[in-house]
């Protein structure tokens, strides 16, 4: 399996409501893919299924690993993260009363191994591991330009920096793929431009794939190599930005049907 993520026929029912209806999607290594669609199309539900917050009703979610594809349906979120998928949230979910650096170090958690005896007796190995983790996290913060605030509480950061910190925290989990849920929500045009550069920079330097949900069409068209469009839980189109822009189905979903047609 050469794709980093492969989703086949993913379906998610909430009682009688089908929020996601047999959606197929794949992401290749180092690719930036966008998932767009009107409000309530099922994009975030799709993310939640992939990252283990929901267990999908039907379908397969396959993640690339050393031994071919691994089916991760129903894995707990922390096991999914261990497999190399890290996410951010649409409504920021930082740990507000922890410092910026601690937030990022939580992301490192699943790559560290200190157990209870290490914690109690703080042996040489544990100390070295902690120091290395703190330094690596600091380097991530430097990369995103947040290193000056590393001892601040996360809740004291300005909004744009909180969004960046979420990305930093996700990066600390050493992912193969980053899932960003509306990273530009609530940002002004200048911040959105900066974010576009940032996401591209992350892809180039970290060599990871990025799947993002976004409503800002300028960002989506600028950044993504391929786009998937969802509406009413179904995938209605996929292709390059140019193809999507001229796809009549997509235009209909976004603007509604012409009365004359």
């Amino acid at each position: 399996m050469e794709n980093i993520l492969e989703v086949k026929g993913l379906t998610m029912d909430f009682g009688g409501l089908r929020a996601v209806d047999s959606v197929d999607l794949y992401v290749k290594p180092k690719e930036i893919v966008a998932l767009i669609g009107p409000n309530g199309a099922g994009k975030t539900t799709f993310f939640n299924c992939v990252t283990g917050i929901y267990t999908p009703t039907k379908g397969d979610i396959l993640v690339n690993s050393n031994r071919g594809g691994v089916r991760i349906n129903g894995f707990k979120p922390n096991r999914v993260t261990e497999r190399g998928l890290a996410r951010t949230f649409q409504n920021i979910r930082l740990f507000p009363n922890m410092t910026v650096l601690e937030n990022v170090m939580i992301g490192k958690h699943c790559r560290l191994s200190a157990k209870i005896f290490g914690a109690l007796f703080r042996d040489k190995k544990t100390r070295a591991e902690e120091l290395k983790a703190a330094q690596e996290c600091y380097v991530i913060l430097e990369k995103l330009g947040l290193e000056k605030t590393c001892d601040e509480l996360a809740s004291n950061l300005p909004y744009g920096d909180q969004r960046k910190l979420e990305i930093a925290r996700a990066l600390a989990t050493e992912p193969k793929m980053l899932l960003l849920d509306e990273p530009a929500a609530g940002m002004n045009p200048q911040e959105t431009v900066d974010l576009t550069h940032l996401i591209r920079m992350i892809r180039d330097t970290e060599q990871i794939a990025i799947l993002l949900i976004e409503h800002d069409m300028k960002l989506v068209m600028n950044l993504s190599e391929r786009i998937y469009v969802m509406d009413h839980g179904q995938k209605i189109a996929d292709g390059t930005p140019v193809e999507i822009r001229n796809n009549p189905e997509v235009i209909k979903a976004y603007l509604g049907e012409d009365i004359d047609a």
């Binding site: 990252t51 979120p77 996410r87 922890m98």
Partner: protein, 403 residues
């Protein structure tokens, strides 16, 4: 402006005079079947509330002022100590010396009170893991204390097992009970968790009270052996000193271990769990494991203290393990400051020593206690000592990472 303030205070005074009228003014003498009207009390309350309400509003205003938001004394002290390790060591040393020489100048009564206070420090620190760090509101903490106490009582009276052998068994058994409680409540948070843990605490107490064959019911277990110190023959006073010194050692070990846990990978995971459970899982932290570890470790300290308690008093019955006990330990944690070790220590000293020394005012003890809690929650909801964040410093990160 001033007229408004006065009217506000007048209203408060009238309201309080009305509310306290039945208990403060009317006194029924059942022997002579007469009613005594104590109007002076009403005047005292009126004046007291009138003046008090000004003070109250002034304090509230002062609290909301932005200038009052500067770092509190506790934060500044902690920051100073963190930056000056020498003064920190000196302070620790002074405290240790004071603790070691304390019994030489005090009588057995004082030493006993202090031993109890130290026990509550350890209990508070244990509950602090569950409530303060992991944010799991546990109202049944005393159940684990009971598990430890009955473990020693039963093993000692039936099999004659010694204190030092049962101590780890009691701790381990409490940890197992912690996990037993943890499993069904993994998905619960906040109020729901509090209710279930409250029920758990009551279940343990009721079982102990009613299972006569096992625990001798409400009459309890008597004649439990005191701890054995290196096989020495000790008289009553020496035993009191012995238990005191043992508790000093225990407390120091607990402070040391809890401090390390807090600043470890596991401690960070607990904090994250407290802050946001979903984000915490999405960042790769296993919820089951982390929560159960908090429950088990918190319970362990309670179990150890239970063994010490049974050995110290040499008699236990279920009445020592009521909900009030859980509430006191929880108040220690909340009053002191959730998640802060110096806070919990201060909280335990206040909560245990103050009522002891206020025995002269024993009638008003609960009133003062209740009032103090209300004032605390209004003016310092974060507790006496706010949690001090550890800071990292980065000098030459790049060289150490090799570019």
């Amino acid at each position: 402006m001033i007229a408004q303030e006065i009217i506000k205070s007048l209203k408060a005074a009238i309201w309080f005079m009305f509310l306290t009228f039945p208990i403060m003014v009317i006194k029924v003498n059942t022997v002579y079947k007469t009613i005594e009207w104590r109007w002076m009390n009403m005047v005292f309350i009126g004046v007291g509330v009138f003046v008090g309400s000004f003070v109250w509003r002034w304090l509230l205003e002062r609290k909301d002022k932005p200038s009052a938001k500067k770092e509190s004394i506790s934060t500044r002290t902690q920051a100073y100590l963190a930056e000056n390790p020498i003064s920190k060591r000196a302070l620790q040393g002074a405290l240790l010396v004071a603790l070691l020489f304390f019994p030489m100048f005090m009588d057995a009564y004082q030493i006993n009170i202090f031993t109890v206070a130290l026990m509550y420090i350890v209990l508070g620190l244990g509950l602090n893991i569950v409530v303060g760090l992991a944010g799991l509101l546990d109202l049944g903490y005393v159940a684990f204390y009971a598990v430890g106490a009955y473990t020693y009582a039963l093993l000692n009276t039936t099999f004659g097992m010694s204190f030092w052998i049962v101590l780890p068994i009691g701790g381990a058994l409490a940890a197992i009970f912690g996990i037993l409680l943890g499993f069904p409540v993994l998905r619960l948070r906040g109020d729901y968790l509090a209710i279930v843990t409250l029920g758990f605490g009551e279940i343990i107490r009721l079982v102990l009270e009613n299972w006569n064959d096992f625990s001798h019911g409400p009459s309890g277990i008597a004649g439990i052996d005191k701890p054995n110190f290196f096989g020495l023959e000790l008289n009553l006073n020496q035993m009191t000193d012995g238990v005191y010194y043992m508790m000093v050692v225990f407390t120091i070990i607990t402070i040391f271990f809890v401090g390390r846990l807090q600043n470890s990978r596991i401690g960070r995971a607990w904090l994250a769990l407290r802050e946001d459970e979903i984000a915490c899982q999405a960042m790769g932290i296993g919820r089951t494991r982390t929560k159960l570890m908090a429950f088990a470790l918190g319970a362990t300290w309670a179990g150890l203290m239970g063994v010490v308690f049974a050995a110290k008093t040499s008699f236990i019955n279920p009445a020592s393990f009521t909900f009030l006990e859980s509430a006191i330990i929880l108040s220690i944690v909340v009053l002191g400051g959730m998640g802060s070790i110096p806070g919990v220590i201060l909280g335990a000293l206040i909560m245990i020593l103050l009522p002891e020394y206020m025995r002269t005012f024993s009638e008003y003890r609960m009133l003062v206690f209740g009032g103090a809690m209300v004032v605390m929650m209004v003016f310092r909801p974060q507790g006496l000592v706010s949690n001090f964040r550890r800071k990292y410093s980065f000098h030459g990160v790049d060289e150490r990472l090799g570019g």
